[in-house]
Amino acid sequence: MQDPAPIGLSLPQLAASRCNLCWRGRRSSSFTIKPGLQTLMTLAIKEHEQHERLEKLKTLFGLPVNKAKLTSQRTRLKNQNGFHLCRLGREVYTFVSTSRMSGSLLNMFSKGTKRKFSDGDEEISDESLVGARVASSYSLQRQSLLDMSLIKLQLCHMLVEPNLCRSVLIANTVRQIQEEMTHDGSWHMVAEAFCSAGQSPSERLVATEVLCRSREQDAEPKLFSVISYEGCREEEVVADETLCSVSVSDTVSNVCLAGRIGQCWEKSELSGVERDEEALEDSRLGSGEDEEIDTKDRASTESPKTIGQVFGTFEIKNGSPGPDSALEELFSDVDTSYYDLDTMLTGMQSAPKMGPYDILDSLAPSHSSPSIVSTPNCRSDLNELDHIMEIIVGS
C-alpha cells in the first residue's frame, strides 16, 4: 500500500494544506504568500545573500560531534565537493555540503544539477572553528531533518488514509533526533519552556515529554485542523455490533499534533529567517513570548498533541486531550501573521473553539456526497490547489 506520489511540499502549500478539508471543497482559492515566507524563499535561493551563511557552513556534514575525530577528517575537508542546495520541500532550500565520507551520521543529498558553490578549496583556519562549524552545521542539518519529519507527520493527517507504517517510522526518527538533541543539550531551551509551563522537569527525557503528552493535563478541545480530524480516525473495534458504541470524544487527539506541529514548523521557519544572520548557530527552538499567538490566534492555545497520539489518530479513544503550551512555546517567537493565511483559507475570520461534534457538523456538508463521489472531487481539488500554488510560488 503506497501513499500517493510523493512530493515535497512548499511552505505555502503546507500552510494551505493544513486545513485540507476546508479547501478540498473549494474550486479555487486565492491567497497571498506572506512576506516572511517570500523572504525565506528568496533568501534560500539567492546565492550572494547566502554567502555569509555559506561561510559558516563550510564544513562537512555528518561528522560526529566528537571532536577527537576532527583531526583525521580535516584533510578531507579540503577535498569536499562544494555546496549544493538541498531541498527541504519543493521551494525551501538549505545549504549543505556534500559529504563523501562514509559512516557519517547524516548525509545530505545534493541534487547535482542545482547550484554549486565551488568554495570547497578554502582552507580551514583553525580546528576550533572547524569544530564549531561542524557542530553547527550538524545541528542545523539535524534541525532541518526534524522539521521535515514534523511536516511529514502532519501530512499524515492530511491524507485520506494515513499510512501507519510511515507515520511510525517518521515518529521514531523524530524521537531519535530529539533524544540526541537532549543529550547534546540543544534541547535545554525546550526543557526550560517545559519547566516554565509547570511541566515535568528536564530530567525526564524531553523528547518523551513532547511525544507522549501525559493525560493528566486537561483542556477543553480547542480548534483543530479540520482535515486532521477527518484524516485520522480509525475505529478500535470494527465489529458491527460495537460500531454504535464507539465514542468520538477524543478526536481532538487525532488532530492537534498535526495542525500544531505544522503551524509550529512554519512559524519556526519564518523565525529562522528573521533571525538568520545573527543566530545561525543557535538552535531554532528559541523560547519567546507568545502573546502574539494568544491574541492573534486562539488555535495556538490548543494543546499540541503527542506524536504518540498521532497513532491515536488511527483509532478513536476515550479520554480528554491534554493542553500543552510547551510545544507552542518552542516555536512561539515566530511571526504569527501566518495564521491569517490559515484563517483565510478556512473561511473563518476568527478561530472559535469547537468541540469535536462541531467539527463533525462542519464535516458533514463536505462529506455529504455519497461514498466515492467525494473522492475524485477531493483529489482534483488537491491537484488544483497544487497547481495554484505552483503558479504563485513557482514564479
Binding site: 559512516g103 548525509n107 499510512n163 507522549c212 473522492t375
Partner: protein, 448 residues
C-alpha cells in the same frame, strides 16, 4: 530450464511482452499494485489501483517448440474490489489490490484471494466452453415457448461454444481488520490462510467468512507507545504450523501456532545487529522490511529492506547467511529520498523456481537479479526502448560518483518516479514478470 546450472547470469534475459498502455500519461487506476504467478505458472495475475484483477494465461500451443516459450494473453479481467466509504470514520477505503495469492488447483476451476486494505475476497475463475442446447420449454435465446406449440420432446445436449471465462466471488472476508492489510498467505494445508495488517495477524478458514482467529497482536495498550508495525507475513511452504512476520524495525519473527493460540511470543527472532559505522537517523527507516518470502524448499527466507536483500537460514537467527546490496549508491542520498518519500517505498522480492536466484526491483525501472550460487548480480531495465521481440536485455550500471563511464547512468539521473516494486518469477521456468508503474513486462530466458 529453470535456473539449472546457473540461473541469473548465464541466463540472458530477453524481452517477451509488455502489457498496458504505452502513453506516458498514467491513469492512476492503471497503476499495477501486485503481480503473482499461480502454482503451475500458467496463469499470471495482476492487480491494480483501480481494484481490477487481470489474469493472463500462457498459451499452450507452442510448448512443443523449444525455441520460444509461449506468450501470455489476457484470460480474464474482473473488478475485484470497489471503493468504499466508511461512513462512521469518514474515511474512504481504497480499492487498490494490495495482494493476490493463488490457491493450489484442486479441480478445473482456479481460485485466488485478492485483498484491498480491509476486505479479502476469494474468487473462482472458471471456464465455460459448452452450453446446453435443445431445451423443450425455452427457445435458444431464452424466451419461453408457448406450451401449446410443443408437439415433441427432445433431450437437451451440450454443444461447444466459444470459451468464456467467468470470475465469481465465492467468499468475502470482511470486517476483521482495523488497520490496512498488507499481506495474505495461503497455508500449505489448503484450508486456512492468514491476513496481516499493521498490527494484527488473523487466521481464516477458507470456508468460513464470519469468523477469524487473531494469532498475532502487537498493538500496545497505549497507542502512544507504538514504535513498530507489521510489514509482511507469510506461511511456511511446507509446515502448516509455521509462519513469519516482519516488522518495521528490521526484525523477523517466526511463530509456531502449536505453541499457543496467540502467537505474540515468537519462536525465533531474526535480527541482524546494526552496523555502527553506517548509523544515521535513517537507519531505522531503511532497516524496515518491506517483503519477506520463504524459499521454495522452505529452508531459507528472504527479506527486502530499503537498500539490501538478505537471505536467512531458518536455523540461524543472529544474522543472515547472505546479504546483497540492491542499490548501495542510494545510501548517500537518503535524506533526499526521505524528503520525497521514496525512502518509504516497499519493494518486493522473489525467488526463482529452484531458489538459486533472487530478484528485486529498484528505481529508474531497474530490477536486479542476484545469483546466489555464483555470487553474481546483474541490473536490468524494463523500458520501452528495449521492446523489440526477443531483444536481449543489456546489463545496466549505475555510477555512484566520480567519473561516469560510457553506458553508465549517474545516480542523479535516476528517475525515482519509475520504480519497480512488484516482480514475480515463474515457478518452474525462467520467465519473469516485472511491473513498472502501469506496464507489465514479461521477460524470458534466451534459448539458443
Amino acid at each position: 530450464m529453470a535456473g539449472a546450472g546457473g540461473g541469473g547470469n548465464d541466463v540472458h534475459w530477453c524481452f517477451s511482452q509488455v502489457k498496458g498502455a504505452i502513453d506516458d500519461d498514467v491513469a492512476e487506476a492503471d497503476i499495477i499494485s501486485t503481480v503473482e504467478f499461480n502454482h503451475s505458472g500458467e496463469l499470471l495475475a495482476t492487480g491494480d489501483k483501480g481494484g481490477r484483477v487481470v489474469i493472463f494465461q500462457q498459451e499452450t500451443e507452442n510448448k512443443s517448440q523449444s525455441q520460444w516459450r509461449s506468450e501470455y494473453n489476457v484470460y480474464s479481467t474482473f473488478q475485484s474490489h470497489e471503493p468504499e466509504f466508511d461512513y462512521l470514520k469518514s474515511l474512504e477505503i481504497e480499492e487498490k489490490i494490495n495482494k493476490i495469492r493463488w490457491l493450489p488447483q484442486k479441480n478445473a476451476a482456479q481460485f485466488l484471494l485478492s485483498t484491498n486494505d480491509k476486505t479479502i475476497k476469494l474468487w473462482k475463475i472458471s471456464e465455460r466452453d459448452k452450453r446446453p442446447e435443445g431445451y423443450n420449454l425455452k427457445e435458444e435465446d431464452g424466451r419461453y415457448r408457448d406450451a401449446a406449440t410443443i408437439t415433441t420432446l427432445r433431450v437437451p445436449v451440450f454443444r461447444p461454444m466459444d470459451l468464456m471465462v467467468e470470475a465469481s466471488p465465492r467468499r468475502v472476508f470482511a470486517n476483521a481488520h482495523t488497520y490496512h492489510i498488507n499481506s495474505i498467505s495461503v497455508n500449505s494445508d489448503n484450508e486456512t490462510y492468514l491476513s496481516a495488517d499493521d498490527l494484527r495477524i488473523n487466521l481464516w478458514h477458507l470456508e468460513i467468512t464470519d469468523r477469524s482467529f487473531n494469532i498475532v497482536d502487537i498493538k500496545p495498550a497505549n497507542m502512544e507507545e507504538l514504535t513498530e508495525v507489521i510489514t509482511a507475513a507469510e506461511f511456511h511452504p511446507h509446515q502448516c504450523n509455521t509462519f513469519v512476520y516482519s516488522s518495521s524495525k528490521g526484525t523477523i519473527r517466526l511463530c509456531d501456532m502449536r505453541a499457543s493460540a496467540l502467537c505474540d511470543k515468537h519462536s525465533k527472532l531474526f535480527e541482524e545487529p546494526e552496523d555502527p559505522s553506517n548509523r544515521s537517523f535513517f537507519s531505522e527507516i531503511i532497516s524496515s522490511i518491506s517483503d519477506v518470502k520463504f524459499s521454495h524448499n522452505g529452508r531459507y527466507m528472504m527479506t527486502r529492506d530499503y537498500l539490501s536483500v538478505k537471505i536467512w537460514d531458518l536455523n540461524m537467527e543472529n544474522r543472515p547467511v547472505e546479504t546483497y546490496q540492491v542499490h548501495e549508491y542510494l545510501r548517500s542520498k537518503l535524506c533526499s529520498l526521505y524528503e520525497n518519500d521514496c525512502i518509504f517505498d516497499k519493494f518486493e522480492c522473489c525467488w526463482n523456481g529452484n531458489d538459486s536466484v533472487v530478484m528485486t526491483g529498484s528505481y529508474n525501472n531497474f530490477f536486479r537479479m542476484l545469483d546466489r550460487s555464483q555470487r553474481r548480480d546483474v541490473t536490468l531495465e524494463a523500458s520501452r526502448e528495449s521492446c523489440k521481440p526477443r531483444q536481449v536485455l543489456k546489463p545496466r550500471r549505475v555510477c555512484a560518483g566520480g567519473k561516469r563511464k560510457k553506458d553508465e547512468i549517474s545516480v542523479d539521473s535516476l528517475d525515482f518516479n519509475k520504480k519497480i516494486l512488484h516482480t514475480a518469477w515463474h515457478p518452474q521456468e525462467n520467465i519473469i514478470a516485472v511491473a513498472t508503474t502501469n506496464n507489465l513486462y514479461i521477460f524470458q530466458e534466451k534459448v539458443n
